[in-house]
Subunit: 204 residues, 2 copies
């Protein structure tokens, strides 16, 4: 198909498709003349994935490119993939995060990138003036641990490429679902706890 | 204290403080002359909270203003607060989210704003081309439900204002912690499952 049909089938404007081609997020079509190229279903699929990562997961183009480069040239094993998220030379100090992980008894590699994010999150809570106890955060961590365990248990093992795509894309696309489910469940438990009936219960 | 000392104590530049004052994120100081005002500890605390919401939770200034207006003029009860997240006239179609909530057997009010976010997240997964089964998402939802239950159980009940501040600010500031903990726990379970030792285990 031509770029105009690729645009109408994917719902992505032609100008955006050209931008993705330039940025390397979309593989080139098959050249049919100096100014035209032919695209196929693989382009439609890739555009859907890029839009999901940009629009739903809210990632930057740079981050999407990073993710797709891992998906397109997957490391030979899941453990190699895990090492991509570790910088053994990373000496950034993460006292709050490291202390939490120690108290939880979690065995993790040194230099794990997510520890820095955890540190910033814990600093934010400390700065907020709201009293979140350590015990409370540990309880939350225990429940989040179960979420992660379910996710890792479902990683397909038939092929390294499938495992990598599932893990890398799943980490990004499931995150907004987890946060939305959390807020839906907040409402459910808050109504239960604070004794209020839904304004218009839809019990059939 | 003067604005210069407020800046050095909070670590927020004077120009940013003035911006927050104009935008209504920070209450005015006590005027001491036509061009000067005096600030106190309440301004330092508020600035820390605003920075945490902007830098850690990644919220827009508009969203921070919205949150602070609820914290500063809390609704009379938690159930009133919950109703703020519900638009009973919202007829947006959320077929994927509503079907998931039905299968989970969760009782929630109609028009819950988070349902729209859940719908977009589920659409993103559907568009990604990665095969996430319904059963898998339901399992994740069950574990996320436990996170939310722990959070709601810890809402303080001494005063409505404390409960509102805790809920509204906690929803935003705990979200990045949950996502970071999830990724730390991914590494822990992936290493366990894929039989790889941490590159440099820090077991003391």
């Amino acid at each position: 198909m031509r770029i105009s049909e690729l645009s109408s089938r994917s719902g992505v404007p032609v100008a955006t498709i050209k931008y993705y081609l330039r940025e390397g997020l979309l593989h080139a079509g098959e050249r049919t003349s100096a100014t035209q190229a032919r695209y196929d279903d693989s382009h439609v699929e890739r555009l859907r994935l890029v839009r999901a990562l940009v629009d739903v997961a809210g990632l930057t183009i740079q981050r999407v490119r990073q993710i797709l480069s891992v998906v397109d040239a997957p490391p030979p094993s899941m453990s190699d993939l895990l090492h991509l998220t570790v910088d053994p030379d990373d000496s950034t100090d993460t006292p709050l995060a490291s202390s939490l992980v120690d108290r939880l008894g979690w065995q993790i590699p040194d230099g794990l990138g997510a520890l820095g994010d955890l540190e910033r999150g814990l600093e934010g809570i400390a700065a907020s003036g709201i009293d979140f106890s350590q015990a409370h955060i540990e309880q939350i961590a225990g429940a989040v641990d179960r979420v992660s365990e379910i996710e890792i248990d479902s990683v397909p093992t038939e092929s390294g490429a499938a495992a990598v795509a599932y893990s890398v894309i799943g980490t990004e696309l499931v995150a907004p679902i987890i946060l939305a489910l959390r807020r839906v469940a907040h409402a459910r438990h808050a109504y239960a706890r604070f004794g209020d009936e839904p304004t218009d219960a839809s019990s059939a």
